[in-house]
């Protein structure tokens, strides 16, 4: 066992592992590129829908149902289905990943908008703001912490799922796992796994840091409460309860 560990560190510190198109920096860049691409598309889809549902309250039941059903879809099944139907290439797996990333973003957005204090919204409206101004100048800033929680969950999920994408002949850090599996090269698999785990933790830390530095705690009267809600969204449980509380 200890030999596996030393072999893994030998693999990780081997200059060969760090150079070329199969090197760690290149794989890392691919991994981040796929993740970024997925997040851009998923955000472009989920946030407008979430804002609409959160602001108008229309289609809430449908949004909850769709988000729940999408969550139950097996990642791997969706990936293989898209590849079989649309062929190998960059976009089919990216679309599969987008479908998996939309639910947390959507849930975070509408839960965030819906959780904004009604008094704030009414006050904004009473001041003569148009509906769009109410949405973007009153609701959106107040909902941001919760929305960001959903975004964090989405990013982490995308990073995790991108490692599976290597199975269908794309790049990313997951390549080391599947190449290692084929070659029975366990140190390479373990090294790749450690890199993926490290990447996920590092990205999460960066996201938390961004939240601390750039996101205002909000004009919300209970900054700790909204913070709490943002954290809770990492696990969809309380997000579900928030939604239930809203409908009752």
């Amino acid at each position: 066992m200890s030999s596996v560990v030393t072999d893994t560190f030998a693999w990780l510190s081997d200059p060969e592992s760090w150079s070329g198109s199969a090197g760690i920096p290149a794989r890392l860049a691919e991994h981040l590129l796929y993740t970024g691409l997925v997040m851009v598309i998923a955000t472009a889809i989920a946030v407008p829908i979430g804002l609409y549902v959160g602001h108008t309250g229309r289609g809430r039941v449908a949004a909850v149902a769709v988000a729940g059903a999408l969550r139950a879809l097996p990642t791997l099944g969706l990936l293989t289905l898209f590849v079989l139907l649309a062929g190998i290439g960059l976009m089919p797996p990216i679309w599969a990943l987008v479908i998996l990333t939309v639910p947390p973003l959507l849930a975070g957005t509408y839960a965030g908008i819906a959780s904004v204090d009604r008094n704030v919204v009414d006050a904004a409206r009473a001041m003569g703001m148009t509906e769009l101004q109410v949405l973007f100048r009153a609701e959106f800033p107040n909902a941001l912490p919760v929305m960001y929680g959903g975004f964090r969950t989405g990013v982490l999920q995308a990073i995790a799922t991108v490692s599976v994408v290597a199975y269908i002949n794309l790049g990313g850090l997951g390549r080391y796992l599947f190449d290692g599996l084929v070659l029975s090269d366990f140190p390479q698999m373990l090294g790749g796994s450690l890199l993926i785990a490290g990447l996920a933790i590092a990205v999460d830390l960066v996201l938390v840091l961004i939240q601390r530095l750039f996101l205002s705690q909000g004009a919300s009267s209970q900054p700790n409460r909204s913070q709490q809600a943002a954290v809770d969204l990492t696990d969809p449980v309380p997000a579900g309860t928030v939604v239930q509380g809203g409908t009752s």
Partner: protein, 248 residues
């Protein structure tokens, strides 16, 4: 459909393996998370350690964890034990947070009333805190169940038997039907598990229905009940349950 009928035996046996791999971690997860949450509630230091560790572990992608664990546990990479341990870690990470929140939300007056009535700590925990946090615990379990059933299929990439095998073999043989059957089977499994959990929750928390029934009976009461937040309403229900329990 034809393919499914011809191979139904294989699909059912894979579904059985799938179910075992998904359910065992849920059982272990509850058995570990509930006592852990109780200890964490009494000890501030332990609490922050538990919360940090759980969010950190929850961040690690499953595929990476499936490969890292054998090195730590000394198991073979194909050992289903790795999957069970990995999913147990996720279950504990999610449930411990939810359970802590639920314990925190138990009305302090109720707890002190129990002490005044002569409840010993263990009895108080088992008869007051635990029953009252069941709804939150079950909400957490339902999330764990859905995500477990989806995550188990990822283990098929490493060659561990479950419904995910239908995806890998479907992809290798360029056979869409097999993948579709796999996705449907997994969705059905997730739905069935969810139904079982809902049923179990109904059986274990009969007072929630009693409260609902009495609530509709008197108009004024139901209005007041709706104004209450979840935990407070639950506390009210428990006080009802307690009095009936004491009378019998």
């Amino acid at each position: 459909m034809e393919w499914f009928l011809a191979n139904s035996e294989q699909v059912f046996s894979l579904a059985g393996q799938h179910l075992v791999l998904a359910v065992l971690p849920m059982v272990f997860g509850v058995l570990i998370a509930v006592p852990l949450a109780q200890f964490a509630r009494q000890n501030r230091g332990l609490r922050s350690v538990v919360l940090t560790a759980s969010s950190l572990l929850y961040t690690i992608p499953s595929l990476a964890l499936f490969i890292i664990l054998p090195t730590i546990l000394g198991t073979r990479i194909l050992d289903p034990v790795n999957v069970v341990v990995a999913l147990t870690i996720y279950a504990v990470a999610l449930l411990v947070r939810a359970t802590l929140d639920a314990f925190d939300s138990v009305d302090e007056d109720l707890r002190q009333a129990a002490v005044a009535m002569g409840f010993k700590p263990l009895a108080r925990f088992l008869q007051i805190d635990l029953p009252l946090s069941l709804p939150v615990l079950f909400a957490g379990l339902r999330v764990v169940s859905v995500s477990n059933i989806s995550l188990v299929s990822v283990a098929a990439l490493l060659g561990i038997g479950n419904l995910g095998m239908l995806f890998t073999s479907g992809l290798q043989r360029d056979f869409v039907t097999e993948v579709v059957v796999g996705i449907i089977a997994i969705l059905i499994l997730a739905l069935l598990m969810d139904a079982v959990l809902v049923l179990l929750e109904r059986l274990l928390t009969p007072w929630t229905r009693v409260a609902a029934a009495t609530g509709t009976g008197t108009g004024a009461d139901s209005g007041a009940g709706q104004g209450k937040t979840g935990p407070a309403a639950a506390a009210l229900r428990l006080s009802d349950a307690q009095t009936t329990g004491g009378a019998s």
